[in-house]
């Protein structure tokens, strides 16, 4: 039997990243994510790889882009204020289709906000933080084992779809030490892409819905990578037809594979009359509340989103066919609440438990809200 370990959430992320063969980290210290950088600064150099602390978060993600284009698997970790600075390069990575993984250990905001307190208020920033229409994948683990598995999944998805993937982590989960049984090396699935030989330097040439091919950059072909809207060669263009095609290609590479990307967990949902929609640390409070409510005979279940972007729209719509009462529990002033409102019909009674003062919900608070139905 595998030995259980007691590890901090941040360290679980770092260990999972190494298991996923991450071999480059560029970052900038910020509470509450610094342990990830510290762990990587110790481990990567002795494996023969590089860790670098850059001059700011903009440069951190910039260095990640450079390393990723050179063929490395890259990670950076930050928190709200740093994530705000990274939005510029996040957009460039989406546009030029560069794989990278960003961990955002969320803290209270806006601005420097509440540096040592948890918050779930960067959800919309993860979706729409960088300007322009763009596809994005954001994962949201809630338990120690999920932090490990979702980090590995983040690398796999970013490599497969050539898109940045964001891991949203709650401050309490990042700082808490929990027991975890790490999986064996052989049990970890790591996505390995085929390296396509590039014909005629058409690096972005593909059919709608197809995965982008792996780019053989810096091999002297010579390839051009651009942050401007580009054609199939990567050369800047503003031809409306080409722009339309490229926009569609980028969006559809994600939306054609929703089954694979969207992951969620359900608890006590078989006969539920009330559904709680939650994620991260709030999902853990909610799960405890669901168990308490079940003891009292209240038929309530929990829908825990593991993939927060793209939003689990299709499975939720399916649930709303039977369940007519939904409670959204999130540590912010109301963000996914509006997504739920968008996808549920008027016949669904909607309530939300919201708070953004840096204190996570207790199960009793969630239970009291359930009783309000």
């Amino acid at each position: 039997m595998r030995r259980k370990q007691v590890l901090q959430g941040n360290i679980i992320v770092a260990k999972a990243a190494l298991a996923a063969r991450c071999n480059f980290f560029a970052g900038y210290p910020i509470t509450p994510s610094s342990e990830i950088a510290q762990f990587m600064s110790r481990e990567l150099p002795r494996m023969g790889y590089d860790f670098i602390q850059m001059e700011d978060e903009i440069a951190s993600l910039g260095a990640c882009i450079g390393a990723s284009l050179s063929g490395r698997k890259v990670l950076t970790a930050t928190s709200g204020p740093g994530f705000s600075l990274m939005q510029e390069h996040l957009g460039m990575a989406v546009m030029a289709e560069i794989p990278l993984v960003i961990v955002n250990v969320m803290r209270g905001g806006p601005s420097t906000g509440l540096p040592t307190k948890p918050s779930q208020s960067d959800i919309m920033q993860a979706r729409w933080g960088t300007h322009g229409d763009h596809p994005i994948i954001a994962l949201y683990p809630a338990f120690a084992d999920e932090i490990y598995s979702e980090t590995i999944r983040a690398f796999n998805l970013s490599e497969k779809f050539w898109n940045p993937v964001i891991i949203l982590l709650d401050e309490v989960l990042a700082k808490a030490h929990e027991d975890i049984e790490l999986p064996r090396k052989n049990d970890i699935h790591i996505y390995k892409e085929k390296i396509h030989r590039i014909k005629d330097l058409n690096i972005y040439d593909r059919e709608i819905g197809e995965n982008p091919p792996r780019v053989d950059f810096f091999k002297g072909y010579p390839i051009h990578i651009d942050g401007l809207e580009h054609d199939k060669h990567g050369w800047p263009t503003s031809d409306p037809e080409t722009v339309n095609k490229m926009q569609t290609l980028r969006m559809q590479k994600i939306y054609h594979y929703l089954d694979e990307i969207v992951k969620f967990k359900e608890y006590y949902m078989e006969d539920a009359e009330i559904m709680i929609f939650s994620f991260g640390v709030s999902a853990r409070s909610s799960l405890a509340a669901v168990k308490m409510a079940r003891e009292q005979g209240i038929k309530v279940g929990l829908f825990q989103a593991l993939t927060i972007w793209p939003f689990p729209k299709i499975p939720l719509k399916e649930r709303f066919k039977q369940i007519k009462k939904v409670l959204t529990v999130e540590l912010n002033m109301g963000q996914t609440k509006y997504e739920i409102e968008r996808i549920s019909l008027d016949d669904v009674e909607k309530k939300a438990l919201l708070r953004a003062n840096g204190i996570p919900f207790t199960p009793n608070e969630v239970l009291d809200k359930i009783r309000e139905f």
């Binding site: 990567l44 001059e55 440069a59 260095a63 810096f218 010579p222 651009d226």
Partner: protein
């Protein structure tokens, strides 16, 4: 019969990207030529060069070069170069940046790349203004110049990029102008062969914007004349006092020394040669 001859440097150009987008009389075309001349003279392997540009007129140069090239957001060229260079130290990284790109929005990255002595070559084209956006004030715009955002004259002091680079730790720094092709090509050659952070600042004419607004002439020759009149060689400058050097551009090599280059943090790297 007239024999058709093509420029021997055309082999380094992405022909399908021509014609280029530079204004008539712009210095960027000259600098493109100087760079290619330097590469050709040194017989460098063009497949082992990466050219990088951020945003700006100068930053467009990599689009026309038939190398692996990267062209992205404003001012972050040195950040990408750091990531590239750590994994591919065998490649020569050349950054084309304007004054706004390098020392305005990218000033922080410039300081730290110099400090680290990152092994890249930066070709800074200083045309004294933000040209692509239509001629606004830059950190290099001379005091009291009229630009599109300083209609009553700029009230800010300028930055001496070469001095800044030297004090931050760059190991090869020189300044020339488009009016000095021979020295510029020689300097680019030295920079390309230099191991460490090398900066070649080239003062360049922007007749369309800086010329028309600040100098009240759209004539490239007159703008170049203005640069020439204000330029003074380093040896001559050494004999002059601070007052006499006011508003002068000192041309020459400011530093050429060896210092260990940044090789990342890995414990498995060969010694610096």
């Amino acid at each position: 019969m007239v024999q058709q001859r093509t420029n021997p440097l055309r082999k380094y150009i992405r022909n399908r990207k021509l014609p280029h987008f530079f204004c008539p009389g712009c210095g960027c075309g000259q600098i493109l030529n100087y760079f290619l001349k330097a590469v050709d003279d040194l017989q460098l392997d063009f497949k082992k060069i990466i050219t990088i540009g951020g945003v700006g007129c100068t930053a467009r140069i990599p689009i026309y070069l038939n190398t692996d090239s990267l062209h992205g957001v404003h001012g972050r060229t040195l950040a990408w170069a750091t990531g590239i260079k750590l994994y591919r130290p065998d490649l020569k990284v050349v950054i084309f940046a304007g004054d706004g790109d390098l020392v305005s929005i990218g000033g922080n990255h410039f300081l730290h790349a110099s400090r680290r002595n990152l092994d890249v070559t930066v070709i800074l084209v200083n045309n004294f203004n933000f040209a692509m956006t239509g001629g606004q004030v830059a950190p290099t715009t001379p005091f009291n110049s009229v630009t599109m955002t300083t209609p009553y004259g700029s009230k800010e002091n300028t930055i001496d990029v070469c001095k800044l680079a030297v004090s931050a730790g760059a190991t090869y720094v020189s300044r020339w102008s488009t009016a000095k092709p021979i020295q510029t090509v020689k300097s680019i050659k030295k920079a390309l062969q230099h191991k460490g952070f090398s900066l070649v600042e080239i003062l360049s004419q922007c007749p369309t914007n800086f010329g028309r607004y600040a100098l009240r002439t759209g004539d490239p020759e007159k703008v170049l004349e203005w640069i020439k009149n204000r330029s003074i060689s380093k040896t001559k400058a050494e004999k002059l006092n601070e007052h006499e050097l006011k508003d002068k551009f000192i041309l020459g090599e400011f530093i050429d020394k060896k210092r260990p280059v940044f090789q990342g943090t890995t414990l498995f790297k060969e010694e610096d040669n």
